[in-house]
Subunit: 422 residues, 2 copies
């Protein structure tokens, strides 16, 4: 007998019928003899509706109270899921994050899990119940305040619980069939991957693939926990995020997929004095603003002026905050002006085989060149090449690269990845 | 400086605007220098909506999960109330029933409060915050399960908290101005009472006045806690439910009001053998069914048959359950048949002065007689006379009695009561 953690996102439990459908799926796992722990997100648009309600009340609601409000969403979905399972003749018990022992720090709205002590969940399963746990929420270690984990929090809850319960697998259900070689909405010939390494999945998640949040993949990788990404609308196998057993000699696939990201903006600081420490002053200010910088490019300075330009990308939603903080240090740093550009797209080619294959870059840039895509910034890691281009060239760029690496042929040998249907 | 507990019902916090309005009212109390603890019900129809959702999922949802589901309602209202207060520049902290130390038994759906340990609420107020507590919910003493208190539970939460915090007064806000001499929808000339004794309020609540639930009045009476019943839509003083200080010689008012009740049905057991113990067998069966019997009438037995009829009233919603249990004992008891009647109404005249004024009954029955009302059952207590009549004669009966006791004249001297606007 094994222990399975099943996580269902909001679109999988959008209404009463969906809840009943998912309940049957859960019961099937229980019937098969497994211990089952289920993690649920809030139903459909519940969380957005609650955020809207808070917005009607106050432009800047206190973070503690916003967490208290939002946790009502999962409370509703977990209770109705338990009811739906009971209605099928099986016994289920729902638990809030606090009851399930999801212990976090006190950072409301984006708390981090410090510990998981799922004694009540374990006891419920030992007594034969199916355990249902509210995703996205926990309780702070010091002050026992209700916290939420921020975006993708329910995935993190599921992985953390699975690790603490020593589960055999953590199944993440959504409305797509698995991890694809590229976003099927952009590349119709994209293929579902059967497996992907956690390292590659990490790069995918960090570079725009929305199917799994970065935090959740990091957590699972650290705990060596397999994740099974699959659809709640079909019984097909999805994609297994798993590393080959240590010592086993597995030849890495050349390329695992093409990810893309439209959520970033670019800021260019024009006319920065080319002295040591100037870049530090700029990024110090941005760090104080809590801005997450992604790519950074600095050109060589023009010989005659002693000035240089520094460009960087950051999430669009943090751009205003960043601009405000940069304004404050303009005199101190002595730069001339600031340019803002939110019409950019980011494309990332990811593959563990890149490490030992120098030809990848050439193929990659040739593909972009043939498609007439102008490259504005480049950054690389051991298993990834990313470029920034114009937003309206991004889809074509993704398709070109996908084709150039043989990813969209059914007979293609590369095992690959991509964006997601969400 | 005093400590005030303010309780707001669902109609007072139906939407964002109502929440903001109520928040201003709360802040006014804080500005006046009081420590303020607020108890809120779920917003508007939230609880009904959640019950409907549960009904879509399962015809008989497990009680534990239904409680988990319903408690989301107050969680939402308390969080948004705290946000609205924060938006006015004051600090508020919301607490679930569990966090506020509302300790109950484990009877899901109708838990009873066993203890109140509001340490966190007290601490929050000591630190200058306004405390917001979710009504209607608690946590079970033994198993730490989330419970709800059943109908009128938020009033009970407020009174129990007020007692535990040693509050000076518990203010119960709703959409009516206070306690009236009769339901103003039936008797337009009914007047608001300034004061009423807890004993009279108890009889009112037990006999159909819906403004305060019986449990809450009982709790406040036991704790000698004054309740102030008032409207959240006006700043007028409402009705104070308070007993005269012990030893103070207050002449009791003759009549304190006319209550009515349409929620009851009548069952008549026909042809019961007139032997000792037969009535006991019947009411033993009903007690096992968990049915709450109100009035009971047994006629003298007919000399020739040795058989008698027994009639009793009970809540309409419990009638089916009662009939099933009576069916099972028909052979054992040996009664002939059972008649069911849900077209009845109950009228109650209540007044502490009745104790020492034997003329009340005559006036009462004369009034009903003149109005052509046929009386089917009668029951009395020291400070109350109740009768059962036809449902369609009830409104007229209430008006006749109200007039006969001089309650609907502005210059009338009696201080009186009645139903409510809800």
């Amino acid at each position: 007998m094994s222990l399975v953690v099943m996580k269902f996102g909001g679109s999988s439990v959008a209404d009463a019928d969906s809840v009943k459908r998912v309940a049957r799926r859960i019961v099937d796992n229980k019937k098969a003899g497994h211990d089952v722990c289920v993690v649920v997100s809030a139903m459909g648009d519940t969380t957005d509706d609650l955020v809207d309600l808070a917005g009607e009340i106050s432009p800047v609601p206190p973070a503690r109270e916003l967490d208290m409000l939002l946790t009502a969403g999962e409370r509703i979905s977990m209770a109705v899921m338990a009811m739906a399972i009971a209605n099928l003749g099986f016994s289920a018990k729902s638990f809030t994050g606090s009851q399930a022992g999801i212990i976090t720090d006190g950072d409301h709205g984006k708390a981090r899990i410090l510990d998981v002590t799922p004694r009540r969940v374990r006891k419920a399963m030992d007594e034969g119940h199916i355990a249902i746990v509210a995703g996205f929420q926990g309780v702070s270690q010091d002050t026992k305040e209700i916290t939420t984990l921020g975006r993708g929090g329910s995935d993190t809850t599921a992985v953390a619980l699975a690790a603490a319960l020593d589960a055999d697998v953590c199944e993440i259900y959504s409305d797509v069939d698995g991890v694809f070689t590229a976003d099927p909405r952009i590349v119709p010939s994209a293929r579902k991957l059967d497996r992907i390494s956690s390292e590659e999945m990490l790069e995918m998640a960090a570079n725009g693939a929305k199917i799994l949040m970065l935090r959740c993949v990091e957590y699972a990788r650290r705990q060596q926990l397999p994740i099974h990404v699959r659809s709640s609308f079909s019984s097909k196998e999805g994609t297994l995020v798993i590393d080959p057993p240590e010592g086993e000699d597995v030849e890495a696939s050349l390329i695992s997929g093409v990810a893309h990201d439209r959520s970033q903006a670019k800021i260019t600081i024009v006319g920065v004095p080319d002295h040591p420490g100037k870049a530090a002053e700029i990024f110090e200010a941005l760090s104080q603003a809590g801005v997450n910088i992604d790519m950074i490019v600095q050109n060589v300075s023009a010989v005659d002026t002693g000035l240089t330009d520094i460009s960087f990308t950051l999430p669009k939603v943090e751009a205003r905050q960043a601009a405000q903080f940069l304004d404050r240090v303009q005199d101190k740093v002595g730069f001339r002006s600031m340019l803002f550009d939110d019409q950019i797209g980011k494309l990332s080619l990811i593959g563990a085989g890149m490490k030992s294959n120098p030809g990848v870059s050439a193929t990659f840039f040739n593909a972009l060149g043939s498609a007439g895509v102008n490259i504005e910034m480049i950054s690389t890691s051991e298993i990834r090449i990313s470029v920034i281009c114009r937003d309206d060239q991004l889809d074509e760029a993704v398709r070109s690269v996908h084709t150039a690496f043989g990813l969209d042929t059914v007979s293609g040998e590369a095992v690959v990845y991509g964006g997601t249907g969400r």
